[in-house]
């Protein structure tokens, strides 16, 4: 198929999903540096005026029934990678405005020794235009993740932010199942939501599907869809 044909086919496919599925609004954040705090708060405050928070239990109910049960539409505020400023900058804003954050954490970033975290980020497509921490720690700590886990959603963004389709079987297992094992060890429970680098959906790459199922994830996020798996 030509590139133009692929574009047209994808546009038609996505239009079909948006036209015939339960909808969710999302804002996807990555690095949330302190210098951007005012802009981030403007987005969060606007969301708080118009939308209701979405928890994983809310999502479970919505996708199982097909009907949204809160007075206002739901909004997923997603924070990708596991940046330290998710705790320092975002958490106080979420709590001030009463919304729930979804933190998609790359476990390998969190587990990287502090002196190596900046290099880890550069090697794993974890973008940062800002250098705001003089102590060199740019990833969340597990203590911070445990605190976020009390009132917000902790989710897996796999282990190393790499293309799982290009990995061998052992590498894929470490990405999908291995990251879940880290959450179990550190949080005392598995996480329910998963998204891999590049965001393929369930059903698009069967070796990954089997691992997602084996790891026990309930929701898979991808570029255009959120899928309830169980």
């Amino acid at each position: 198929m030509s590139a133009a044909g692929a574009f047209a086919a994808q546009a038609d496919r996505v239009a079909g999903w948006l036209g015939g599925r339960p909808l969710l609004r999302a804002i996807n954040f990555h690095n949330t540096a302190r210098q951007s705090a005012a802009m981030i708060e403007r987005q969060i405050a606007l969301c708080a005026r118009r939308f209701d928070a979405v928890t994983e239990d809310d999502l479970d109910r919505y996708l199982a029934n097909g009907t949204w049960h809160k007075p206002r539409p739901g909004m997923i505020l997603a924070f990708y990678e596991g940046y330290r400023n998710g705790y320092d900058v975002v958490l106080p804003l979420l709590e001030r405005h009463g919304l729930v954050g979804w933190f998609f954490v790359i476990t390998g970033f969190v587990d990287a020794p502090v002196p190596q975290q900046m290099q880890y980020a550069m090697d794993h497509d974890i973008g940062m235009s800002t250098r705001e921490y003089t102590d060199g720690r740019y990833a969340l700590s597990w203590d911070e993740i445990r605190e976020l886990d009390r009132h917000h959603v902790i989710a897996s963004h796999a282990r190393s932010h790499a293309d799982i389709a290009a990995m061998d079987a052992a590498g894929r297992e470490a990405e999908v199942v291995g990251s879940q094992r880290r959450f179990e060890a550190e949080l005392g429970h598995p996480v329910r939501s998963f998204v891999s680098y590049g965001g393929p959906a369930h059903g698009e790459f069967s070796p990954a599907d089997r691992l997602v199922d084996a790891a026990g994830y309930q929701f898979q996020f991808s570029n255009h869809r959120i899928q309830r798996l169980r």
Binding site: A11, R25, S129
Partner: protein
């Protein structure tokens, strides 16, 4: 994973009806999604795709699926399409056709940019829906 635009007179009644439906369904102003001129589409896309995706919050619409009963039945039983569902699907198809007339180097990733623009138009903090 964004868009101000005045409705043409012929769309005013349709827009009012759409807004009433939207409020009833708990959704906001889907009329803001409606594709504008080709020039405005191009201008907005050019501006939005230059945002720093690592440092800015990017608005997006996502479609939910329930695969718990099998991949053959992804639509939850109680789901009924809303005005926003219809507006989004129509706007995306219209925008894709407009964009194809402008460019011959499009790929699947460009579809995501179109959806991001629709989301920005509908609920972006600096989009036309911000004052809703």
């Amino acid at each position: 994973m964004s868009l101000t635009r005045r409705l043409p007179r012929r769309d005013v009644l349709k827009g009012l009806v759409g807004s009433l439906l939207a409020v009833g369904a708990g959704w906001l102003h889907p009329r803001r999604l409606r594709a504008g001129s080709t020039a405005s589409l191009r201008e907005e896309l050019d501006r939005l795709v230059t945002r720093d995706y690592a440092e800015q919050g990017i608005e997006m619409f996502l479609a939910g699926e329930d695969l718990a009963g099998g991949a053959e039945t992804p639509v939850p039983p109680g789901f009924q399409a809303t005005a926003l569902n219809r507006e989004l699907a129509g706007a995306l198809r219209a925008d894709a056709a407009q964009l194809q007339a402008l460019r011959d180097d499009l790929g699947e990733d460009d579809v995501a940019a179109l959806v991001e623009r629709l989301a920005w138009r509908e609920f972006g903090a600096d989009g036309p829906g911000a004052d809703a």
